[in-house]
Symmetry: C2
Amino acid sequence: MRIGVDVMGGDYAPQNIVLGAIESLSKISSDTSLVLLGDKPRILDICRQNGCDASSFEIVHTSQVIRMNEHPVKSYTSKKDSSLVAGFNMLAKKELDAFASAGNTGAMLTGCQTALRPIPGIMRPCISAEMPLLNGKKMLILDVGFNTDSKPDMLYQFGYLGSIYAKEMMGIENPGISLLNIGEEEDKGDMVAREAYKLMIDSAHYRFCGNIEANHLFSGDIADVVVTDGFTGNVLLKQAEGMYGLTQSLDVKHKFFEGFNYESYGGTPVLGISSPVIIGHGSSSPLAVANMVLKAESALNNKLVGKFIEAFSYEH
Amino acid sequence: MRIGVDVMGGDYAPQNIVLGAIESLSKISSDTSLVLLGDKPRILDICRQNGCDASSFEIVHTSQVIRMNEHPVKSYTSKKDSSLVAGFNMLAKKELDAFASAGNTGAMLTGCQTALRPIPGIMRPCISAEMPLLNGKKMLILDVGFNTDSKPDMLYQFGYLGSIYAKEMMGIENPGISLLNIGEEEDKGDMVAREAYKLMIDSAHYRFCGNIEANHLFSGDIADVVVTDGFTGNVLLKQAEGMYGLTQSLDVKHKFFEGFNYESYGGTPVLGISSPVIIGHGSSSPLAVANMVLKAESALNNKLVGKFIEAFSYEH
């Protein structure tokens, strides 16, 4: 298995990315190869400074960098020799099995949409985040921002993607899927949520548990997977991240809130496309980068894409 | 000034409501009369048990109660002699100047829409919440749930309503209005947010400060007023409330997070209708009820509705 890592993407690239790749070496299987894409001399320097034998990696030299604040589509289409674009091209040509980057999120989404195919039967890919619950378990939230405008059928499918992810990646046997809404009753919510509820309540594909309100999200024992549109999901994810910041500023720290620190966890997997892609937070720490690599490896080991393909074959 | 209080609305009604009304007596002006609507014998009992002279209030006896979980429209239209419907009818006939209830939120919104007129020029009323900032100031968020589906022009108007509220009720001289979005750039967001941005950036009515992301909401110094659609705003408000719950459960309490405890604060004012209406949380404490009364009095003292009428006269 070959996992590509975009060494030039992220606020602290290439330093944090190479350090994270080094950190992951002791945790991945001996069958997994890490392919670092970026400025080769700088990668070699960082390896040398940190006592790492650079031959542990395969290095693909690229000459361009897509910066964090660049226009996603413009930069993606013009910077053909950037580490980010090179990663997607290798993935499309099956020269990589998975790709991870903490770079420009918009450019990553552009790559998912232009270089990769959606899985047949899936209307739109989405991104997801594993968030902590008070009972110590984790909950998957999706979509957390791939799509800005969502339709009810998309939300229905996110529920199915999430249920498969929860089963295969989180080890939850018969996951409960809830719809984020502004009331528990079926007629609550905006048009998209109301119509999505009608589709989900009749689902033969997953166990739908009804609506969940945001004040009950993290108390646990309600839902394993929470479905929402990408706009609301992104606001929710960022609000949780802001809460972590507040607990830090106010010095009322608790391990639980570290789970909201999306800089530290292993990135958000893009679900519904033909290869595993993991998008990390711009400020990813070396640990977060290592976790991204492990998440990509886990998606490959669990044959996640194959499970999605099989599941959505009913659509065509 | 006559402020009506729905004594039968709320999870701990009538007890908490009467206690809150008693608590507010020492804080309101001698010109303000409190009109309690509900079961007269029970109101008299609670007054007696708490050493309060019931003649401090005017009591309007009603025989019916709209329960918290009843269908809003059905209960509103069928229970003509409920305290909630009676309050709206008195307000419509100018027998009350303002009305506050911690009862069934949906029935309250039904009352606002059926018994009261929207202010001419205002497309849709909205509800708002004052939330705490790290710098000790407060920020107004609207719409937090009156409207489930919003249009860009509605969001534009919420900005204007919010700027007037911030000036008149919160004493902020030239408030900065931000749009909640999933990125800072103008082309970010769903269709509603993108179009609302275009209207707000050209505003001659208020000082627009661009997009704000949810991770920066409470750090302060960015926005005095945050505009969003009612679905996202309601999720945001409830997520903040849930965070308060988490800090309590994990015993990492801090005064700041109490500001997210929407059970304790003085209700959310409905903006854009012909009379001040304050909607409280179902679990309102006596203090929260007293704060609702004070908020209603403040809206009347500041002639808030008159300011809205004047401001929106440009629309017709």
